[in-house]
Symmetry: C2
Subunit: 491 residues, 2 copies
């Protein structure tokens, strides 16, 4: 794309002024409409060193009320950031609905720099491209408008700008060694940039190349594409998008009705003995995975009163408190609802060597949100894939992802509800909502079966914890966690 | 995708029957809604030999009124078809709005067979993939729902089916040599199929793999994906899609106001002399391009009364009538309006060695259709790219595409209109509509300038024919056609 590109003609001064004025007013007019439509807008600027990214961002934001936008400059990852999956530090910074975020470079730069310098092998490059394409598509599908601008200047023009900056001692600091390296290796960068643009140019998040040799002509080009993109997105309010087939290898799962529960029991003695042994083993393994810098996510989903809390407790008891966190997941806060539904999980991921235990998870999307109508049908139908892709990112980065479904039957739930109701110190554990959910047992069962079938991938499979006998379920959970962590430590 | 795929579990007999019944009724219910929404649906079946494509198409169409669907079997290209661009014979068969077309293989097979057999070099393969992706996106953007199914069976299963067919003399004819070749080279095909599916799996036209080892389980899978796709598409009625940046190299064009006209004149003597010479030259060249099998498209656009007809006449006079056609383009017929706006041009392309002269063209989209509101803003804004892509297909296949803009000024038009009005034998040439269009001169000028800027690619540039002196314009046109044809004959 970049190699075919020819700079557009520059309008004469008066015409340029008049055209810019029109586009500025258009953009100004769009901000309230974006707010009303709850449309989040990501405006990503990439480009050559000294191509004027900062300058054009400065001009564009002049037309927007400061309450409606943020500007993010994403630099090289810190050591702390390197302890998380590649995409995380970028996804942390997505805007909330109705607002703009302008990025002075986003995930392109880390990938292209790696490719030019040879730090990123071809196979890793391809993986990153797949991650980026999937993620941009998922953001789009969840209502984000993504506009990507590449500011393009020639080798000669870049050299001239660096020379001018270097000639003045007040500006010479702005030219880095990396800048001069880029100019010297311009053609190599051109190859890598061109390929990246081709590889990530999708209708869901298209590239727009901006001819920036003439700096006077940058703002108008950007504003036109920006306004056109907003205009199109506003016309498509609450879009339904195609449901893609899951591309990952799935592990067959039983239907809930076919899981036998009553034979999954342990005596108190068996339980105590195994519990001690397994907790000791997990304790040792926790140090090992800390040293090996392996991050672990343990997900708990299950019926109300299935025994999630007690099960989590038996895992947590075995862990060093400095190295794990239990994350209870309630309904999303307003600032979370205003973003991609996985955002609040991206921000809660464990870093290398740490364990995060989620008490309820992102799977709320296809259970409570589906059944209560908190999201559209298209939203939850898409979510199976989106969650598989999310977990693919985590596990590709070396994370261990363990997912538990804690299973009981309807009678057992009733018995436990009744006991809670009748035991003063347990009454806080039972609410009207629990009873209401119970009435929807059958609908939930349909949803849970679909979830288990569609999201048990070979990299993040579901495990059933038969929990009519809670002791049995706890021992089984410990054993599964131990096996998975051991395997990860050995590989 | 194919390599990760695992066959889904087969529901038991009763359950399967019940589920199929639900999906059949859903599909039946959709047909009238599709009609009302004017949604055209392309359902493409690809897959292994003996995977059961024909059988499942037969089952699916049982639920649809015969007035609402067609079934197309696309075989190897005939010699006649090979004289046209690759995509043409497929695009001929796109459905009209509100109707289904089911394809028993589409453009995948020609590409993958070529890749397996080695007839299609890697560079050609990549070109075809780019063509297919662009075209599927363009169909989608113009309102087509495209669902692509790949029927997947194992090597063993395929072998078993061929053996069974061969064992019975009534069915043995159904197994071809090509079938047996495929089974023998199953793994090579698997590589090629898998790559093709990956390369063409876009949200705008996604692939769905259907596990067909168990033939009982094929219909349900297909119906589910089909109904889901229709459901999503119906929710997105009259979608606005992102306007992509033109990816091709553009030739800078002057604005109409800057074109000097009065100095572009010829004396009668100069004209006569050049006309004879150039027509002779073109006549000779026509035989040459016929022998060289080069197809040529000459496009005429221009103001009313600019002199298109007379200009075309001077080209046509020099050509062998067996080798050219003049195609006057009026408003689209109902069956043309019901399809992609380029369909009526795909069906009118010249074959190798032939010349098609279009008197008005596909550029009506960004002139009359834009100004009269016959298409949406999103439609005509997208059309610049779609037309560039269309011409890219033609020229990539070796076609010469020459585009003329016949230019006069407003006063000259008035003089010619008045003369027509006052000359009885020319009155048929002037209508009320001409006068109405003239009132919109300024709006047309804006649209024409934008068209010339955005669609003058290096493979299909616009040429301005200054036609205040019609003689000058005719000679210039002849010279341009001669130069372009000569260049093509030499390369």
């Amino acid at each position: 794309m970049l190699k075919e590109y020819i700079n557009p003609a520059v309008p004469d001064k008066e015409e340029l002024k008049a055209e810019i004025k029109i586009e500025r007013e258009r953009l100004f007019g769009y901000q309230m409409k974006l707010k009303e439509a709850k449309l989040p807008v990501m405006v990503i600027f990439e480009g050559w060193g000294a191509s004027g990214k900062g300058s054009v961002i400065g001009k564009v934001i002049n037309n927007i009320d400061p309450r409606f936008f943020k500007v993010k400059t994403i630099a090289d990852p810190t050591d702390e950031e390197k302890r998380y999956p590649f995409l995380r530090r970028y996804l942390m910074e997505i805007p909330e609905s109705g607002k703009f975020t302008f990025y002075d470079s986003y995930w392109m730069e880390e990938v292209t720099n790696g490719a030019v310098k040879g730090d990123l092998p071809e196979s890793e490059y391809k993986k990153r491209i797949a991650s980026i394409n999937r993620t941009e598509r998922s953001l789009h599908d969840n209502g984000y408008l993504i506009l990507k601008f590449f500011l393009h200047i020639s080798k000669k023009q870049q050299k001239k700008r660096f020379d001018e900056l270097l000639a003045d001692k007040d500006t010479s600091w702005r030219v880095s060694k990396a800048d001069l390296y880029q100019n010297k290796h311009y053609d190599e960068y051109l190859d890598v940039y061109d390929r990246y643009l081709e590889d990530t140019n999708n209708p869901t998040a298209p590239w727009y190349i901006i001819g920036a040799d003439n700096s006077r002509n940058v703002e108008l080009q950007v504003l036109r594409f920006l306004n056109q993109g907003i205009d199109t997105a506003l016309k498509n309010h609450s879009l339904a998008v195609p449901i893609l087939q899951n591309p990952f290898r799935l592990v067959p799962m039983p239907k809930l009705a076919d899981i036998s529960l009553d034979d999954k029991v342990l005596t108190d003695e068996e339980y105590k003995e195994k519990l001690d042994k397994l907790q000791d083993e997990l304790r040792q393994l926790h140090y090992k995975l800390y040293r090996k810098k392996i991050p672990v996510v343990i997900c708990y989903e299950g019926w109300d009163a299935a025994g999630k809390g007690g099960n989590i407790k038996r895992i947590a008891e075995a862990l060093d408190p400095r190295g794990y966190e239990v994350l209870p997941i309630a309904s999303p806060e307003p600032h979370e609802k205003a973003r991609h539904f996985l955002w609040r999980f991206w921000t809660r991921l464990p870093k290398t060597g740490h364990i995060a235990i989620f008490d309820r998870t992102w799977y709320g999307r296809v259970m409570v949100e589906r059944l209560e109508g908190f999201c559209s049908e298209n939203d939850w139908q898409r979510a199976y894939n989106e969650m598989n892709e999310f977990e693919k990112e985590l596990t590709d980065g070396g994370m261990v992802v363990i997912k538990f479904w804690v299973q009981i039957d309807k009678d057992t739930q009733l018995a436990r509800f009744t006991e809670r109701q009748n035991t003063p110190e347990k009454q806080w554990k039972i609410t009207d909502e629990d009873w209401r959910n119970r009435e929807k047992w059958d609908a939930y069962e349909v949803a849970i079966n679909e979830m288990l079938q569609k999201t048990s991938t070979d990299f993040a499979p579901w495990y059933i914890l038969e929990s009519v006998d809670k002791k049995y379920a706890r021992i089984k959970a410990l054993q599964i966690v131990i096996d998975a962590v051991k395997k990860a430590c050995e590989s």
